[in-house]
């Protein structure tokens, strides 16, 4: 039998953690996007000493589970004395810093591949036309390639943000009390995983809905140069 009273009691408690969940998502999305752009520029630079490190990075971070990355950063790094004595320790000391770092590093790798897909999707003819009009390589990239690449990348990018939002739940494994962390504490106290986790799933689904809606508007805005049928 489902305990509705428990659901009603635990949802407000879990919502206390929504701020942390959103913050983890937004901060690591911004940092991940910056990292992704750098990786993208390195990859398409045409210079081996830049493209190879980027390729290796992407290969490693896409090839390992994010939970493993979180554990290596949180539990592994402090085992090295020089890490504990470095200037980065104030960040790595905090579970929040470790979670943001792991999420950003991981998503940077995925996002850079998404952006690369966008850049490669831009019609070659547009670049040639711009070149014929006398635009420099830099101008072509800024004013022709980028806007179109961004629009092409939006659907995949929004997918990645949704997946990032769900990945924030892994932060609960390193003592953070995001919505998942609070839910696990409630379950440990009430032994009612069914009610609590299903309520939590519903909250995540609602958040996903709003993220997708937001990106839907953004995609339409970026596509306004295209002739709309009907």
């Amino acid at each position: 039998m489902i305990d509705f009273q428990l659901i009603a009691d635990s949802i407000p408690k879990m919502l206390v953690g929504i701020g942390l969940t959103l913050e983890l998502m937004l901060v690591s999305a911004v940092l991940g996007t910056i990292l992704a752009v750098i990786l993208l520029l390195m990859r398409i630079s045409g210079r081996r000493y830049l493209s190879w490190p980027a390729l290796t990075y992407i290969y490693i971070f896409r090839g390992t589970p994010i939970l493993v990355q979180i554990f290596i950063i949180y539990y592994g790094l402090p085992q090295l004395d020089f890490v504990r004595e470095s200037i980065f320790w104030p960040i790595l000391r905090e579970p929040y810093g470790c979670a943001v770092l792991a999420l950003a590093l991981n998503n940077g790798a995925y996002m850079s591949e998404i952006f690369r897909g966008g850049v490669l999707g831009v019609d070659k003819g547009l670049g040639e036309a711009a070149s014929a009009l006398g635009l420099s390589i830099r101008q072509r990239f800024m004013y022709i390639t980028t806007p179109i690449a961004v629009r092409l990348a939006i659907p995949a990018y929004s997918n990645d943000i949704v997946s990032l939002m769900k990945s924030t739940a892994l932060a609960s494994t390193i003592t953070l009390l995001d919505m998942m962390g609070i839910a696990r504490t409630i379950v440990a106290e009430t032994f009612a995983p069914y009610e609590v986790f299903i309520s939590l799933a519903v909250i995540y689904i609602i958040m996903t809905f709003f993220i997708q809606k937001g990106f839907g508007y953004f995609e339409r805005y970026m596509s306004r140069y295209l002739k709309r049928d009907a």
Partner: protein, 272 residues
């Protein structure tokens, strides 16, 4: 003559038999004691195959006071209470905590081990956390990071008593000790016996020590561990209580504990 010798030997044998049976009835009480036999250092088998541990010592001490013979029965934990109720043994001396739900099915003697929490932190922290009466000083806990197990009684105690401290929840004690040594938390609160066996007595715990007295609020941590017996044996229960009290007063419980821990694990101040 032969006949007479025969008769007298037979008589002697008969008398001997009678007296043997009489002696046996006089000390016939044999208490069968159920325990896991695998729960070191409380009840376990040594390399030679003998039973040893704190629970075993308590059982022997109680039996000596009661003048009873002991027979140990090894029983898996999940079948312990059913086996007691099915008369497979008479007593449970197996580190079983006294809880309300267990008291519905069985009786317990007075506790021979207490449930307490204790804080572990770096040696020489230089913060006075408890006043001389053993009460926590809330102001000095302000902003300190304390590691506790998720949804444990220690977590509840901190939430109720010291809301100013920043409590961090852990799912495994290994992670909790790791974060303490990494400097992510200032202290942890846990069961002092576990802290000693798993951390303080090990290499990793070398720079750490108990930084609080034993905190024994029964409202949070329970009454402790008692000798379990079937209901309706009030006479036996009374004798067990007396025996536990005697073991407390004559220092035996402390001696038993010091074999495995550097501190006593029973209520030393108990006066009956």
């Amino acid at each position: 003559m032969k006949q007479f010798i025969k008769l007298t030997t037979m008589a002697a044998i008969a008398i001997g038999l009678v007296s043997v049976t009489q002696v046996q009835t006089a000390t016939a009480e044999t208490l069968r004691v159920g325990m896991e036999c695998t729960y070191a250092p409380f009840n376990f088998k040594t390399a030679e195959g003998n039973l040893d541990g704190y629970d075993v010592d308590v059982a022997k001490g109680v039996a000596k006071i009661l003048g009873a013979e002991l027979k140990f029965v090894c029983q898996k934990w999940d079948g312990m209470i059913p086996a007691l109720l099915a008369n497979k043994f008479d007593l449970v001396i197996a580190s079983m905590s006294i809880t309300d739900s267990r008291l519905e099915k069985m009786d317990f003697s007075a506790p021979y081990r207490i449930s307490v929490g204790r804080l572990v932190g770096k040696k020489d922290m230089g913060i006075k956390l408890f006043d001389d009466g053993g009460k926590p000083m809330a102001d000095n806990f302000e902003g300190l990071k304390i590691g506790v197990g998720r949804a444990t009684t220690y977590a509840k105690w901190f939430e109720a008593k010291l809301p100013g401290a920043k409590v961090v929840y852990y799912d495994s004690s290994e992670a909790m000790y790791l974060d303490l040594t990494n400097g992510r938390t200032d202290m942890i609160m846990t069961n002092p016996m576990k802290a000693f066996l798993k951390f303080l007595s090990k290499e990793d715990g070398a720079g750490y020590e108990f930084v609080s007295p034993q905190i024994d609020e029964t409202k949070f941590f329970g009454i402790g561990v008692g000798i379990g017996l079937r209901k309706g044996n009030d006479e036996l229960k009374k004798r067990l209580d007396t025996a536990v009290l005697e073991l407390t007063k004559n220092g035996s419980l402390k001696t038993y504990a010091l074999k495995y821990f550097p501190f006593a694990i029973h209520n030393e101040g108990w006066e009956g």
